[in-house]
Point group: C2
Chain length 413, copies 2
């Protein structure tokens, strides 16, 4: 018998029929002899409906009140699922974030969990009761409702799994796992059986949308085995877990592509100490995330600095950067939006040399010009012309053997 | 400066526009120099929507889970109103039943209030904050959400007014007060300026639907001045308060009609001690409310017993009564549904004699046959043929001068 935390997202509980299917799922896990704790999101569409109402009340709705409003969505789904389970003669009970002791700071709409007591869950489990918990919400020290921001329900599930020392935390969603790359772009993309927390974090930050970074970080910190699986079909999912020898056997685990990029170049920057700080300080203060940075010495004592920012921030960032450029005596600022970032991720890079060289070679063979390069221990990113993104993803996916089954696939899970 | 608890019902907060009008109302009371505590119901229709969802999950949804589900409706409206007030630069804060310390027993869906702490309300008021409180809900000792049943939001408002020793509790609804009789039946019905708790209780139990008996009882017990007023137009409402000399000046305050009645007659009951207990015991156990009872000696040692029950309970009650009739050796059971009850209510009856005699005379002049009679200190009810109900109400309303303005109308309020 193992203890499993199951989390179902908004589309999985989006209709009455789907909630009944979640009840089927929970029932099956119980009949298989597992102890189950269920965490739910609000019905898909409900949060948007409530937000629309809020914006009809006030142009900038108060954030504490938004949390009071938005936290109702999960209370509806947990009550409905508990009813469905009870009518199947399973002893289920719904609990709010407060009732299971999800304590947070007071940063309304994006609160951070400070403590998880999970007392009523423990007590329920000893009595054979299935706890059905509202995700996404907690309470602060004043006993006011808070919400955890994007991906908050995943975080609730992982935090409970950590506190309960659960054997596994399964995130049921509308896809059946994490893929070697985006299947919409590369049809030969394959579901990954097992991936390390670190790789998953890189994939998440590089644009793979299955899991939010916060939940993966939390799972890594408390070593919670995290499974991504489909709530609509039975089968294997992807297990996100501690790095093991199997994982190091392959150099590259996944290929990601990110179009949300724009390249800014400041031309003719006087090459003096302190220039970079003077430039990136104001940008950081405006909450604009600078990603890849390169610096080219072009003429004596003058340098060009290029960097990427999220494309959505261009309108906010460019006037600011132009100001800064003027202040530091640079010649001009240019912006290119038609770029994209293609990345390889894999813990195996640590032991496999030559991954970068092979990547550059593959891209050059396809006639893809590399504009910028950035690397970390387990990741290589190249900024390229946007029009080549699909081509680059497909050719890298194939060149690194990701469209072939891994040797360890049978052994995994 | 006085402290006023304002309660708005479901139709008053049924749309975004109406919530904005409630905000207008609250703002006006604040600008008039009052301290205001607001209690809200769920948006009209929301409770039905949630109940439909519940019944799609389970044929008999669990009651604790129903409370978890239904209590979300008020949380939505309090958050929305607080947003609207804050965007007008009024410092408002929403609070759940739990947050203001509405403690109840564990009778889910019909919980009784055991204690009201109202700590956060008091603290808010001293800081100049307008508390916006979710009606209809509390928590039990296990810290589980409970709901207070029909008219529960009124009860929340009255209980808070009692705990805060408020100067007045105003129930804003879709009518502008309590009427001398049903204006849909008697067009000359007049709004009553002032009425006693006792009269209001009789009117409520006799079918006047403006206020639920529970709230009036609570208000009477703690002597909370209760006002019924319209949330849609400005003007005087009805004040429900302690009996005073003005009220005794008139013999009759109101006329009510109740069609939800059926008459059951058990013919040929052996006239032995204990028969009544043997009969009404099982009926009471089945939670069927017996109202008027009369007993006619028809033959030596045999008696006929007639009584009224709610018409909606006929199908449940009749088989039960037939069983009992057989057991006690009665001859037969007959049921008449086409009856109604017309009643006069007034604290003045205590000092004005002859009200009953006049009532019987008025009915007889109109050719209305009286089937049964029941009286209390401040009420006389006659069971009559249903077809005469409107006629009886109109003629009594006029005969007791209720379509004329009261002498004390100008002085009242």
């Amino acid at each position: 018998m193992s203890l499993i935390v199951q989390k179902y997202g908004g589309t999985s509980v989006g209709t009455v029929e789907r909630i009944h299917r979640v009840a089927d799922n929970v029932e099956r896990a119980c009949k298989d002899g597992h102890q189950v704790v269920v965490v739910l999101s609000a019905m898909s569409g409900e949060t948007d409906r409530l937000l629309r109402l809020a914006h009809e009340m006030a142009p900038l709705p108060d954030e504490r009140e938004l949390d009071m409003l938005l936290s109702t969505g999960e209370r509806v789904t947990i009550a409905l699922l508990a009813m469905a389970l009870r009518s199947r003669h399973l002893d289920a009970r719904s609990f709010t974030g407060r009732q299971v002791g999800i304590l947070t700071d007071s940063a309304h709409t994006k609160a951070r969990i400070t403590k998880v007591t999970a007392e009523r869950i423990r007590e329920s489990l000893t009595r054979g009761v299935i706890p059905v918990v509202a995700g996404f919400q907690g309470i602060n020290q004043q006993s006011d409702v808070t919400t955890l921001g994007r991906g908050g329900s995943d975080l609730t599930a992982v935090a409970l799994a950590a506190s309960l020392k659960a054997d596994r935390c399964v995130i049921f969603t509308d896809v059946d796992g994490v893929y070697t790359t985006d299947p919409n772009i590369v049809p030969s993309a394959r579901r990954i059986d097992k991936i390390s927390y670190e790789e998953m974090l890189e994939m998440a930050s590089l644009g793979a949308k299955v899991l939010q970074s916060r939940s993966v970080e939390f799972a890594a910190k408390f070593n919670v085995p995290l499974e991504v699986n489909s709530s609509f079909k039975e089968g294997k999912g992807t297990l996100v877990t501690r790095e093991d020898r199997d994982m190091e056997a392959v150099a590259v685990s996944g290929v990601t592509g990110d179009r949300n990029q724009a390249k800014v170049t400041i031309v003719g920057v006087p090459d003096k100490p302190g220039i970079a700080a003077g430039l990136f300080g104001p940008v950081a203060k405006a909450n604009i995330l600078v990603d890849v940075i390169i610096q080219n010495m072009s003429q004596a004592a003058l340098t060009d600095i290029s960097f990427t920012i999220p494309r959505v921030d261009v309108n906010k960032a460019v006037p600011l950067i132009q100001d800064v450029a003027r202040t530091i005596g640079a010649k001009s600022v240019s912006v290119t939006e038609a770029i994209a970032k293609v990345s390889l991720v894999g813990v195996g890079m640590r032991s496999h040399s030559g991954v970068a060289a092979k990547m550059f070679e593959v891209l050059s063979q396809e006639g893809v010009n590399i504009i910028m390069i950035s690397t970390s221990e387990i990741k290589i990113s190249c900024v390229i012309d946007e029009k080549y993104l699909e081509l680059a993803m497909r050719s890298l996916h194939s060149a690194f053997g990701l469209d072939q089954p891994r040797n360890d696939d049978r052994a995994a899970k």
